[in-house]
Symmetry: C2
Subunit: 352 residues, 2 copies
DNA sequence: TTGTAGGCGTTATCAT
DNA sequence: ATGATAACGCCTACAA
C-alpha cells in the first residue's frame, strides 16, 4: 500500500510537506502543493487513518450500539439519521448489535474501546427506560430513544409521545367526536403509557362534554411476542347500541386490527367510525384504505439530534438539557372525519 | 491512555512480553503471564487496534454499504445477520449509507479505503440488478440482495424469489384452487418479476386443469412512491360472477389491500376466498386476521451468508458459485384454505 | 523464556 | 516555506 513517503519521493519533497498538503495546513507554495497533489493522484494515495490516529489520539469515529435491530420496522431510520449527521461532520460510524444479550453488549463496548471510538450512541428500538448508570459507560454516550432511570445524568434524546398524543386527541375532539374509545398499547411500553396519559389529560381538560369514554388494553405480554385482543375488543365495541364514533389506537398495528374489525362488522371508515393511530408505520398507515391519520415517530431526527448531542458531549461543550424530547408530528390523512352532529351544527350556523 | 509499555513497567517485564501475553503467543512462563495479566487488569489496559493494524497491515474490519435504509421495513435484518457473523468471527463493522446518491457512495468508498477495511458488503434494500462492474470496486466486495448485470463476476447473495414463489403457488394448487388471480408487484422490481414467472411456470406445469387465471399489476411507478390499484382491482375481481377462489399477491402489502377489499365486499378469508402474500413483513402478515400465509424473505441469512462469502473472498479461498441464491421458506398460516370441492371429493373418497 | 532494536504511516516539534 | 527527527502503540526479527 502506498504511503506518504512514496508520494514524497515522487513529488521530490519531504513527507512532512505531503502531510501539510493532505491536511490543508498553511505554509506550502501553491506550486509545491500542486506537484504533491499530482503525485497523490498518480500514485492513488489514500491516507491511513489508523496511523493518523495513533499520532493524534483522536479517532473521529462514533459507535452505534443497538439492542434489537428491526423489531420495530422503521427504527432503521434512527441509524440513517445518525449516519447523515456523521457524514456531514466527517465522522465514521462503527456498528454493533447486542440482540438484547448482556455478554454481547459487553463485547461491543470492549471492541469500541479497542478502536478508541470517541463516543457511543446507545440506540433502543422502542422508547424505553433503562437501568444504566453513567459509571457503567467506559465511553461518552448519548441515549437515543431511551432514558436512564438512575439519578445520574446520561444525556438522552427521546420522542415526545405525550405531546404527540395530546395533539392527536385534541384533533379528534375538534372533529366533534364525543363518544371515544382508547385502545392501549402494551403497558410495558413507556411510550404507550405516555400516550395514554395524554389521552386522559386531554379528555379531562376538554371544555366540551364527553359522552362516552372507553378504555381497554389491546395487547399484553413480552415485547415482540405479545397477545393481541384488539380485534375481539373492537368487535365488542362495535356491537354496542351506543358505539363510539372514534377509536384512538395506541399505535398503528392496533389501528390495523380495528380496521379489520370495523370492516367485518360492516362499518365504513371514516363515515361510520373514525380511527387514528400512532407511529406512522407506513406499511400500515399508507397501506390501509382509507389512509390512516396518525402521529409520526421522529426516528430520523432522534438519530440526527443524538449524534449532534454526542459531538457536543465529546468536545466538552455544554448541553442545555439532559433529556431532549423531540416533537412527534401529527400526520393528517383520511381516517378521521367530522361527526354528523358537527356537520349539522355547522350547516345550521351557516343558515342562521 | 494506558499502553503496552505502562503494563510492561507495572509487571516488571518488557513490552514484547506483554504483547506475547495479549496475543496468546507461546514461550511465556505461566508465572510471568499471570503477573502481566494482573497488571493489565489493574491498569485497565485495552489494546489499541489502530496501532496493531499499522504493523500487521490487517484491519479485521468489514464495511456495510447500504442504499436506502429502511425503505423495506425488515431489511435491517440483513445488517443483523452480518453483524452476528462478524461478531462470531472477530471482525468489526463499519457502516455507511448512501441514500441512493452517487456522491455519497463515492465518499463512503473513500472512507472505507482510509480505514483500510478488508472487505465490503454492498447491501440493497430490495432485490435489485445493479450496473456495477468489478473494476469500479476498490475493495473486495460481495453484493447482498442484489446482483451485477455486467459480465464480470462480483460474488453475490440473493433470495431465491423464483423457487419460493413456485412453492407457494404449488401449495395453493394443492389446496384445490382452480380459479386463481395473481396480482403482480411493481414490474420494476426484479424479485416481483421472478415471483410472477414462477407463478406462470407452476400453472403451466400443473397436471390439474386450471379454470381461471387472472393477472393484473397491483402497483406501478418509482419504488417507494408507486401508485397502487390493488384495492379497486381486487374489488372488481370480487364483483364477478365467477370470482377466483384464491388470490396470490406479489407481496404482503398487496395482500393487505386484498384483505380490505374482501372484507368490504363482505367476503370472509379464507372461507370465501383464500389470500397469500410474499415477504413476511410481520407487521402485516401477523397483524392481519386471519394471519397471512406467505413466503419469508431470508434477510438474516442474506447478511450472514454474505459476510461468510466475503471472508472467503478476502482470504483467497475459492467460492463455489458466483451467485448464491438463498431459499425463501414457505410460512403456512391461516389465510389459505382447502376449497369446498376438494373437501367434498375427499369426503367422497373416504366414503368409497 | 525473555529482551532489544527497528519499523509500520503518520504528525508534532523544532530547526533551517 | 521546507525538512529532519522523534514519537505514537504495537509487532517482527533477531539476539541473549
Amino acid at each position: 500500500m502506498v504511503s506518504i513517503k512514496d508520494v514524497a519521493r515522487a513529488a521530490g519533497v519531504s513527507d512532512k510537506t505531503v502531510s501539510r498538503v493532505v491536511n490543508n495546513e498553511p505554509n506550502v507554495t501553491p506550486d509545491t502543493a500542486e506537484r504533491v497533489r499530482a503525485a497523490i493522484e498518480q500514485l492513488n494515495y489514500v491516507p491511513n487513518l489508523s496511523a493518523r490516529m495513533i499520532r493524534t489520539n483522536r479517532s473521529r469515529t462514533f459507535g452505534i450500539l443497538t439492542d434489537y435491530i428491526s423489531t420495530s420496522p422503521y427504527s432503521g431510520e434512527i441509524v440513517r439519521g445518525i449516519y447523515q449527521w456523521a457524514r456531514a461532520n466527517g465522522r465514521t460510524i462503527f456498528l454493533a448489535n447486542t440482540d438484547g444479550q448482556p455478554e454481547q453488549e459487553q463485547a461491543a463496548w470492549r471492541t469500541f474501546q479497542e478502536h478508541r471510538i470517541d463516543g457511543v450512541l446507545y440506540v433502543t428500538m422502542y422508547h424505553r427506560l433503562l437501568d444504566i448508570s453513567a459509571a457503567d459507560l467506559p465511553i461518552p454516550t448519548v441515549l437515543v430513544n431511551c432514558r436512564s432511570l438512575s439519578s445520574d445524568t446520561i444525556p438522552s434524546v427521546v420522542p415526545n409521545d405525550y405531546a404527540g398524543s395530546r395533539k392527536l386527541v385534541e384533533y379528534v375532539l375538534d372533529k366533534g367526536h364525543r363518544r371515544i374509545a382508547y385502545i392501549r398499547l402494551n403497558p410495558v411500553l413507556h411510550g404507550g403509557e405516555e400516550r395514554h396519559r395524554a389521552f386522559r389529560d386531554a379528555v379531562a381538560a376538554a371544555v366540551v362534554p364527553i359522552e362516552l369514554i372507553d378504555e381497554m388494553v389491546g395487547m399484553i405480554g413480552p415485547v415482540g411476542r405479545e397477545e393481541n385482543f384488539t380485534f375481539d375488543g373492537a368487535t365488542a365495541l362495535f356491537g354496542r347500541a351506543e358505539r363510539p364514533s372514534a377509536i384512538i389506537c395506541g399505535n398503528d398495528e392496533i389501528a390495523l386490527k380495528v380496521y379489520l374489525a370495523a370492516l367485518t362488522a360492516g362499518l365504513r371508515i371514516p363515515q361510520d367510525v373514525s380511527v387514528v393511530g400512532f407511529d406512522d408505520f407506513q406499511t400500515i398507515s399508507l397501506g390501509l384504505i382509507p389512509s390512516l391519520t396518525t402521529v409520526a415517530l421522529p426516528y430520523f431526527d432522534l438519530g440526527f439530534r443524538g449524534a449532534d448531542r454526542l459531538e457536543r458531549l465529546v468536545s466538552g461543550k455544554s448541553l442545555t438539557t439532559v433529556d431532549l424530547r423531540i416533537d412527534c408530528p401529527l400526520v393528517l390523512r383520511e381516517s378521521c372525519a367530522v361527526t354528523e352532529a358537527t356537520k349539522r351544527s355547522v350547516a345550521a350556523g351557516r343558515g342562521a
